[in-house]
C-alpha cells in the first residue's frame, strides 16, 4: 500500500486530500503519470515528496509498501 497526499490546489483538482493505492514495486514516475492523468493534474505546478523528502530527480525511483507520496504545489495567498 502506498499513501498519496494532495495539498492546496492539487487536492481541489484531485477532489481528495489523500488516497491509498495498492500497487507495489512500481517506479515513482509510473505512479505519477497514472495519478496525473487520472486526476487531470497535467496543467499544475507541483513538487513531489517521498516519505517527507522532496525529490528533484525521480526518473527511476522505486516505491515500496508503506511509502508516502505528497503532491506539493506552490501557494500564493497572503
Amino acid at each position: 500500500m502506498i499513501q498519496v497526499k494532495y495539498f492546496g490546489i492539487i487536492a481541489e483538482a484531485a477532489k481528495r486530500d489523500s488516497e491509498d493505492i495498492g500497487e507495489e514495486n512500481v517506479t515513482l514516475s509510473k505512479i505519477l503519470s497514472d495519478l496525473s492523468s487520472r486526476h487531470n493534474l497535467g496543467e499544475y505546478n507541483f513538487q513531489i515528496a517521498v516519505n517527507r523528502k522532496i525529490v528533484s530527480n525521480y526518473s527511476d525511483q522505486k516505491l515500496s509498501n508503506g511509502d508516502e507520496i505528497a503532491f506539493l504545489p506552490p501557494f500564493s495567498g497572503g
Binding site: I9, N45, R52, S56, A70, L72, P74, F75, G77, G78
Partner: protein, 343 residues
Amino acid sequence: MNRYIRQITLPQVGLSGQQKLIKSKVLVIGAGGLGCAVLPYLAAAGIGKIGIIDGDRIEESNLHRQVLYSSEQLGYFKAKEAANSIIRNNPEVDILVFEEYLTPKNAPSIFKEFDLIIDATDNLFIRYVINDTCVELGKPFVYGSIHQFQGQVSVFNYQDGPSYRDIFPQENQSAPNCAEAGVLGTTVGLIGMLQANEAIKIILEIGDVLSGKLLIYDLLRNSQQVFEFGKVPKNKKTNISPSFEMIIAEEAVLKEGILLDVREMDELPEIQSENLLQIPLSILAQKQEDLDKEKEYLIFCQSGVRSLKAAQYLSEKGFQKLKLIRGGAKDLIQVTKNEKSIS
C-alpha cells in the same frame, strides 16, 4: 529595557539576545493578511529597524483578515497605516515606509538596508524577484503563503541553504491568491505568526530554523507536516531573472500602449478596452508577426506568471517597449469598470 523584561527572562534570549533584536533590521514585503500578523509582533519584540513595503491601499474586503486597519482607514496606504499602528505599541522602533510595490528595479536598493527579508506577499512573480534578489545579496528570507485553510512556511537562502527555486524552479505556472481562492483571517494570522517566530529565532540564533524544510500547516485538520529538501545543482535550474518594468492597472489604462492579454480566450474576467489585443501565450510564437516592435505593449494575464513569460519571449525577439501590469486582469477589470461608469 523594562518593556522587554518578560522575554529577556527567557534563558534563550537574555540581555544579549535583546541587543541582537534591537540591532536587527527586518524588511516586511506586503502589509496584507500575513504582514498584519508579522508586523506587530516584530515591533513589540523590539526589532530595531522595520521596513514595510506595499503599494496597496486599504479596501473593505481586506478588513476581515488585515486586523491592523479599521473601517475609517479605507483608501489609505497600508504601509503607512501599518506603521502608525505598530509604532503605538513600540515607539522605540525605527520604521521605514515604502508606499510602492516591490519591483525587480527597486528591490536591490531597498534590500541592502536590511539583514532579513520577510515575504508576506500574495504574488508568485514577486516571490521570484524576492528570491533572486536575496540570493544575489546573500540575505535570508522567511517565506509564508496560504491556500484556503493550508499554509506553507519556510526559510530560504539561510546560511547558504536552499532557495525557493530549489523547490519550485518553474515560473511558467500560476497559483491562485486570496482574492481568487478565499481565506479566513485566522489562517493568514497563524501563518504570519509562524513567519515572525522564524524571524525572531534567526536573529536570536536559537532553535531549529525551517531552512531546507517546508512546513505545511492544515488549519482544518490541525495537522502539520514538514518536508525536507536540498539544493538543486545550478546547471539543472532554469534561472530567469525578470527585469521588466511593472505598472499598476490605473496607470496602464491611461497610457497609449496596447494592453496585451496573454490569457486563453475564454478566461474571466473579460477585459474590454479599445486598446486591447488578446493573444494567448500558447500561440504567441505564431502570432508574433502581428505585433509591431515600435509600439509599447502592456502585458497582463491572471497571476503575472504568463505575462512574464510573454515578455521574456517578446524581449528575445527584439521587442523593447514592454511593461507588465501588476494585479493583471483582476485589477484591470476594476479600472475599466470605473471608466465605463464615468463615461
